[in-house]
């Protein structure tokens, strides 16, 4: 969720009202944005400074903090799909319309009769790297420092969010008086692109410029990889071969906008045309507020590689037809059509009632790219009506409550094992590769564990294929406890399984460990017998086992994680379902457990059956 910092007093000026923090918070809550923090430039710098003090402080930052403004800044959280609220202009406009203090502006293209629009000609090579461009012009803009900063901040916010760090869309803005159409959008070998970039004083070719940013510019270097490996770089030229920008990296110094700029040329280059259009619409609809003819935007003709001509921006209002019944039935309300129309107006959505009084003809403004479906319109009605004014109803759906048998058995068994004197632990499914294999003296055969490709930390490299390592880690972290320590966990191990559609499956298992000055092998063995007793599964050699469809037995095993001669595999029928024994001292040493440990690990899934021994496993997918 993006957070936008706005100057409180400027915002209140636009709202025409001074709120207390609490009142404003309430207004935000109703609209679905959130007043996240109340701060100031000075306070933010002070906080930043405090965090650098440990590293010896930063004198430049200290000076900045001392000089910084104490004007109050509201940090406001904006829903991730409301790109039209990423600047103070958009927030104020939305809230004004919501409160009924302003009506929705009509966004228009300038009347171009008798005039030739500026042209942007796209060369076919751009398809190799960044195929799309859309443009627009804002005429007669009046900037002041606050507006100018807001204009820059909006582009930043869009780059961070909708533009996915400039990978999908990059915005360039230019002082139109310094450049001359028609413009071209080209893709050229980097050595051939030469210009003075913004904030630099000398000319670079694009190849050396990328190297320069990689080495010297913390902010820009993260965008370099977007085009770095491409044989051609995207570039925009004016009629006199002045470079406008090298998207998505940097604009040229020549056409930089200043506080005195009046006519602004905006270009958005993209790999995703839909998003480029939304980005362009967002920038122009927000700042057309300051144009000589407010809310009017001069279009630019884009001539694509095939010669097709399209006029941008596309400020058309999208029509959407729905019914009042749809809205009311979705929300659980009985609002009359007129009321719905009125409520939608508060959300910047113009609607007209059809002749039957039920049909709603809705005009979605170019600012509301978040509206995809009639349900989005219905939500706006709900917001304007107030979520907290909607009458509640208990759903009439009658169904039977039911636990998943696997989980129900887990619950029953957990209680029984705790009754046997074991303490329950709860450990992570994600472990390091070493914990799952090397520490356990178990070789990685490559067909056992699920592997993560991009873990943020080395602690989470694989999904555990056995629960025992987690129990041993818990013992190590609690080794100063009084002995004996008896722990258990009933949880899922995750194993590769090519027979499953996703290639892996969970397996519900019990792990129990006994840790004392002596191994306690017989205690763990006894727990196995007890668990089987409560599961109603008799020992194969027991006379009582005759006639039981399920029995269990054990026989000596050779698992490398266990001590030789003090371990046994557990079977039901011919299938091995578990293991118990004394944990190998080298395993204990790897986990830094100083005492002997006996352990039991048992797959519970074969025992998920009802009193008729019918299996109750219900896998989610095959």
């Amino acid at each position: 969720m993006p957070t936008v910092g706005v100057n409180r007093d400027k915002l209140f000026e636009k709202l025409g009202k001074v709120y207390t923090d609490e009142e404003f918070d309430h207004l935000c809550f109703e609209y679905g944005i959130e007043l996240d923090d109340v701060t100031s430039e000075k306070e933010m710098l002070r906080k930043e400074l405090a965090s650098t003090v440990a590293k010896g402080g930063d004198s430049k930052l200290a000076a900045e903090a001392a000089a910084a403004s104490e004007e109050v800044i509201y940090k406001i959280d904006i829903p991730a799909n409301r790109y039209d609220m990423l600047c103070v202009e958009g927030i104020a406009r939305a809230l004004n319309i919501f409160r009924g203090t302003q009506s929705s502006p009509q966004y228009n293209l300038a009347d171009m009769t008798g005039k030739q629009p500026l042209q942007m000609v796209v060369k076919p090579e751009t398809a190799l790297v960044r195929p799309f461009v859309v443009c627009a012009v804002l005429r007669g803009i009046k900037f002041d420092p606050a507006r100018y900063n807001s204009f820059i901040d909006l582009q930043d916010k869009l780059h961070q969010n909708l533009c996915r760090q400039r990978t999908l869309v990059a915005i360039g803005t230019h002082d139109l008086s310094t450049i001359q159409g028609p413009f071209t959008y080209e893709a050229l070998p980097p050595e051939e692109i030469k210009f003075v970039p913004l904030k630099q004083t000398r000319e670079f070719n694009a190849k050396e410029l990328m190297q320069f940013y990689l080495e010297n510019d913390q902010k820009l270097k993260k965008f370099v990889p977007i085009i770095h490996s491409s044989v051609v770089y995207p570039v925009l030229y004016d009629a006199n071969r002045v470079v406008l920008s090298l998207p998505p990296i940097i604009n040229g110094a020549h056409s930089a906008i200043t506080l005195d700029t009046q006519d602004v040329f905006i270009e958005c280059t993209a790999t995703d045309l839909t998003k480029a259009k939304v980005v362009l619409n967002t920038v122009v609809t927000m700042f057309a507020e300051y144009a000589s003819t407010p809310f009017t935007v001069e279009p630019v003709e884009v001539v694509d590689a095939l010669g097709n001509r399209t006029l941008y921006p596309d400020l058309s209002y999208r029509s959407l037809t729905l019914t009042t019944d749809y809205v009311n039935s979705l929300l659980g309300l009985q609002l009359p059509g007129e009321e719905i129309v009125k409520l939608l107006t508060k959300m910047q959505v113009a609607a007209e009632l059809g002749p039957d009084g039920k049909e709603l003809l809705v005009q979605v403004p170019p600012t509301r790219s978040d509206i995809l479906h009639a349900c989005d319109v219905a939500e706006d009605v709900a917001i304007a009506h107030g979520y907290n004014n909607i009458p509640k109803r208990i759903p009439p759906t009658t169904t039977q409550g039911r636990e998943l048998p696997l989980n129900q058995l887990t619950e029953l068994l957990r209680a029984e094992i705790a009754m046997s004197g074991f303490t329950e632990v709860l450990t992570w499914a994600l472990v390091s590769h070493a914990e799952n294999f090397e520490f356990m003296r178990r070789p990685d055969d490559g067909i056992t564990a699920v592997e993560i490709g991009n873990p943020a930390t080395a602690d989470f490299e694989v999904c555990r294929s056995s629960l025992l390592s987690s129990a041993l880690k818990t013992l190590a972290a609690n080794k100063d406890n009084a002995l004996p320590i008896k722990l258990f966990e009933v949880s899922d191990a995750i194993v590769l399984d090519p027979s499953k559609s996703v290639g892996a499956r969970n397996e519900r298992r019990l792990v129990a460990v006994f840790c004392a000055k002596d191994s306690g092998f017989e205690v763990i063995h006894g727990l196995l017998n007890r668990v089987m007793e409560v599961l109603g599964v008799p020992y194969k050699e027991d006379p009582a086992a005759a006639g039981s469809p399920v029995t269990y037995h054990w026989s000596p095993s050779a698992d490398p994680a266990m001590f030789p001669g003090r371990q046994a595999a557990i079977f039901t029928g011919d299938t091995q379902v578990g293991l118990f024994g004394i944990v190998h001292p080298e395993v204990l040493a790897a986990f830094e457990v100083p005492y002997p440990v006996s352990a039991l690990e048992l797959n519970l899934e074969p025992f998920v059956f009802n009193q008729f021994y019918e299996s109750l496993l219900e896998p989610l997918s095959t």
């Binding site: 995703d272 929300l331 995809l372 759906t397 409550g401 303490t423 943020a456 880690k473 972290a477």
Partner: protein, 501 residues
């Protein structure tokens, strides 16, 4: 010990008074210090009274022990000097070495037994000044060793100046019968025993007072983990409300079910490697496995161009992106599979209420409030004609079972629900509104491609299990609740979970 106690009581019984316990110890053939223990114990039981007798004497220091036979240092030095021409200081030092030599020479000079002759050229010589001496110091030490008293001045000189003797004080006792005197002690019992009961001696037995200020002995027991106790209560609440538990025991999921089926666009930030654990093994779920081809095409098309009344996202949907395997980021991946199943089951759609509580995974740095895995609680109702009012109603019902009776709702955004509502609850304890969960109605772009009838709506909500547990049990660091570093005493000492009572 008991013998000693009996001997003492009998002696006292016979003599009425024991003038000095020191004598009694001697007569019993034990060290007095051994007898003191018995005296104190009997005194505490008021069987005898004891009156202190202070004693004082000098004893030899360790240094002095050696002089008892070898003679005092000054005598040793004197004897080392031959009569007549004497010897040099160096020679004398060789004969009587160490401290005895130094002290002895100084003392012998003071006593004027010896003199230093410097008349000759060369080294001065130590010569005898008297022919014979009496070693008074040795005599005095012998007296002390023999327990004889010394003249006061000489005793003090030996003790303070020469530190050859030291004072020693000790106590013995004059013993008389106490108020509870008896020849045998009756010890009060600490506990009622089987033996007392079988012999009937409990009737005569005196019992020691019980210390009611101490805690009892903790019973040997196992314990359940607090987070899972909370999980048990949540499961009860759901089943009591008629919800059926979903099979969430599958952590590995394809991007298709985790994102695409939920109408989450492929460029959505949540699908970044920064947020999601993508797998290298098993790396993908081929589209042909488990997803019906027609359904897959409907999902592709709704993303790209919309449909079912939607305009879609207008981008090029990539099959390969949907095949990428991951660790599910939410249990809603399971909900999407269940809803698809519900739409396509034999006999057609039937209303359902589902819930689940299970682990989900986020590729995040672990800190006080974030873990890479946590438990998501999810509930959903799927039926014809459900409304936002139904969602508000069911949320009020559910949260009031958790003790959160005052709710309000904030508009929110979620890619797969519309309308979406954040759930806030008023905390009387904290005096403020707190976010307690998220909710919404699943989007038609998610439900319609699955084949659910057009009038079927799904209302759903979710929250984490960890947050309410941390609030309930007063835990402020999530790492103290979940993971191997959790303290076992936290697990052992937590109370019942009363949610849903």
């Amino acid at each position: 010990m008991a013998d000693l106690e009996t001997s003492l009581l009998q002696a006292l019984h016979a003599q009425e008074v024991i003038a000095d316990s020191g004598d009694l110890a001697k007569s019993l053939g034990v060290e007095h210090i051994v007898l003191v223990g018995t005296i104190r114990s009997l005194q505490a039981s008021e069987m005898i009274t004891a009156e202190d007798i202070d004693h004082f004497r000098y004893v030899l220091t360790d240094e002095a022990q050696g002089y008892l036979t070898a003679g005092s240092p000054e005598a040793q030095v004197f004897n080392a000097v031959p009569a007549g021409e004497g010897i040099t200081l160096a020679e004398l030092k060789a004969r009587v070495s160490g401290e005895a030599g130094d002290v002895g020479f100084k003392q012998a000079m003071q006593q004027r037994w010896l003199a230093l002759d410097k008349s000759d050229v060369g080294e001065p010589r130590v010569v005898r000044k008297v022919d014979a001496i009496v070693d008074r110091t040795q005599q005095l030490l012998a007296d002390v060793a023999g327990g004889r008293e010394l003249p006061k001045a000489e005793a003090e000189s030996l003790a303070k100046k020469r530190k050859l003797i030291k004072p020693e004080q000790w106590k013995t006792y004059k013993l008389t019968k106490g108020p509870k005197f008896a020849l045998e002690r009756k010890k009060p019992a600490t506990d009622l025993t089987f033996e007392m009961m079988s012999k009937g001696t409990w009737r005569m037995q005196e019992f020691k007072d019980y210390n009611f200020n101490a805690l009892g002995v903790p019973p040997p027991s196992g314990q359940l983990h607090p987070l899972l106790k909370v999980r048990s209560q949540f499961r009860k609440i759901f089943t009591q409300m008629g919800f059926e538990e979903m099979p969430t025991n599958q952590y590995v999921e394809s991007s298709f079910w985790n994102f695409d089926a939920l109408f989450q666009p492929q460029q959505h930030p949540a699908r970044d490697a920064h947020d999601t654990f993508f797998l290298t093994k098993p790396a993908s779920t081929p589209a042909g496995r488990g997803v019906d081809n027609d359904y897959l095409n409907r999902v592709k098309s709704v993303h790209e161009m919309g449909g079912y009344g939607s305009v879609g996202y207008g981008y090029s949907w990539k099959l390969a992106e949907s095949e990428k395997n991951l660790l599910r980021t939410h249990t809603t991946a399971v909900s999407s599979r269940m809803l698809y199943r519900l739409a396509n089951q034999p006999g057609g759609f039937k209303p359902a209420k589902y819930f689940s509580i299970d682990r989900v995974f986020r590729n995040e740095q672990v800190d006080r409030t974030h873990l890479a895995e946590f438990h998501q609680v999810e509930g959903l109702v799927c039926d014809k004609g459900l409304t936002l009012g139904d969602l508000i109603g069911v949320l009020n019902q559910f949260f009031s079972r958790l003790g959160l009776k005052k709710l309000r709702f904030k508009p929110a955004f979620n890619p797969y629900t519309e309308p979406s509502m954040e759930i806030f609850s008023y905390s009387e304890q904290l005096g403020k509104w707190m976010e307690v969960g998220n909710s919404g109605m699943f989007r038609p772009e998610m439900l319609r491609p699955m084949g659910l009838p057009e009038d079927v709506n799904v209302i759903a909500w979710g929250l984490s299990l960890e947050r309410p547990t941390m609030i309930l049990y007063g835990i402020d660091n999530i790492r103290d609740l979940f993971g191997h570093k959790v303290s076992l005493s936290m697990v052992r000492k937590n109370p019942l979970c009363r949610l849903g009572l």
